[in-house]
Amino acid sequence: MLGPQSSLVMYDEEYKRIMVLIEKLIRESNSKVIFLVDKNGQLIAATGETEHLDTTSLASLTAGNIAATGGLAKLIGEKEFSILFHEGEKDNIHISIIGGRVILVVIFDERSSLGLVRLRVKKASKELEVVFDDLARKSESHAESPGVDSPFAEITDDDIDNLFN
C-alpha cells in the first residue's frame, strides 16, 4: 500500500477496471448509487443515479465520517470500524473500507436489502483491492523515475499565474 504522503495516482487502465467492477456491483446488489472515495475525501469513481447528487460534497463528508468514526474506534481500542451503515426513511447508505485506504459507498433503497448489499460488497471488495494494489505498485514504479510522465514536471510560473486570471 501507498504511504500516507505519496500522491494518489489514477491511470486509464485501472480506472476502467474499477468502473467495470462497480458497475457489476451496482447491478448485482440492486443498488442506486455507488462511489469510491479516497480517505482524504477525493472522489475516485462513481456510478448509478448520480445526476442529482453532489458527489464532491458526498465524498468529502464520507471521508470526514470515516475519519471521525476511525478516531472513535481508536479511543475505545478498536482498529477501525470497517463497515458503517446509515438507515434512512427511503435510502440507506452502506460504507466500507477497501484495503485500508479506499472507501466504498453504496446507496440503496427498498429494491435491495442490507443482507444482499453486504454479501455483494464483500465479494467486490476483494476484486477492487486487487486493482488498488496494482495501482499502488504502478505509481510506485513511476515515482522512481519522476518527471517522466508527470504533467507538472514542465509547468512554468506563467502557467501558474494564468490560472488566476
Binding site: 500516507p4 504522503q5 495516482v9 480517505k39 460534497s57 463528508l61 475519519a67 515515482a143 519522476p146 509547468i155
Partner: protein, 195 residues
C-alpha cells in the same frame, strides 16, 4: 496528498486553513465562495455549532482552470480553532498539500496565535509531516481593527523562518484571494518538484 487522475485528466489538492478560534478561517472561505463564479465552485459545506463556530470543518471545492490539459481542483478546508477540538483538527490535516495559518492580529489574541501555531506543528509531526517541508504561508488577519499588533512584531513571533506572509481583512476581502493564490502557487511548485 494530491490526487493525480490521468483517467479524467484532473489534479486535486487539499489546502487547510489553520489558526486559533475566531481568527477568521471560515470567513476566508465564505468570501472566496461569494466571489467565485458559479461554474468554478461547488457547494460550501460548514459543519458548525448553532453559534456558527466550526465544529468539524468547512469544505469548499474550487476548480481553478487547466494546466497542461489537466483540470486543477483545490479543496479548501478549515479546522475548528477552539482548543478542545484538537482530535478533529488532526483528522482534517490528513493528506494536506498546503497550509495557511490565519493569525488574529488583535493584541489580546497573541498568545492564542502562538499556541495554535505550536499545535499545528505538533499535529503535523504526529502524522509524519514537517511544517518546514510543506507549502506554508501566514495570513495576518483582522488588520482593520484598532487594537492590532504591528505586523513587524507578529512576524518576529510567528514567522521567524520568513515563510511567505501577508496582511488581510477577511470581512472586507482584502488579501483573501492573494492568500489563496500564494498558497496554491506553492502547492503547484511543490507538485512540479514531485513532492
Amino acid at each position: 496528498m494530491s490526487f493525480i487522475n490521468y483517467a479524467s485528466r484532473e489534479i486535486n489538492c487539499k489546502i487547510v486553513y489553520y489558526g486559533p478560534g475566531l481568527c477568521g478561517k471560515t470567513t476566508n472561505l465564505q468570501f472566496i465562495y461569494n466571489k467565485t463564479a458559479q461554474e468554478a465552485k461547488g457547494k460550501m459545506i460548514s459543519l458548525a455549532t448553532e453559534t456558527e463556530r466550526t465544529l468539524f470543518f468547512d469544505f469548499l471545492p474550487l476548480a481553478l482552470g487547466e494546466i497542461r490539459g489537466f483540470k486543477t481542483r483545490f479543496h479548501l478546508y478549515t479546522v475548528p480553532g477552539q482548543v478542545f477540538y484538537d482530535a478533529s483538527r488532526k483528522l482534517i490535516l490528513k493528506g494536506v498539500d498546503g497550509v495557511v495559518f490565519v493569525a488574529d492580529s488583535q493584541e489580546e489574541r497573541l498568545d492564542a496565535n502562538i499556541e495554535s501555531l505550536e499545535n499545528l506543528k505538533d499535529n503535523l509531526e504526529e502524522q509524519g509531516y514537517q511544517l518546514e517541508k510543506l507549502p506554508f504561508i501566514i495570513q495576518y488577519n483582522k488588520r482593520d481593527l484598532p487594537n492590532c499588533t504591528p505586523v513587524e512584531e507578529l512576524r518576529k513571533l510567528l514567522n521567524p523562518e520568513g515563510v511567505p506572509d501577508l496582511e488581510a481583512c477577511a470581512t472586507s476581502g482584502e488579501g483573501i484571494f492573494e492568500t489563496l493564490k500564494m498558497v496554491a502557487k506553492l502547492v503547484l511548485i511543490d507538485l512540479k518538484k514531485g513532492g
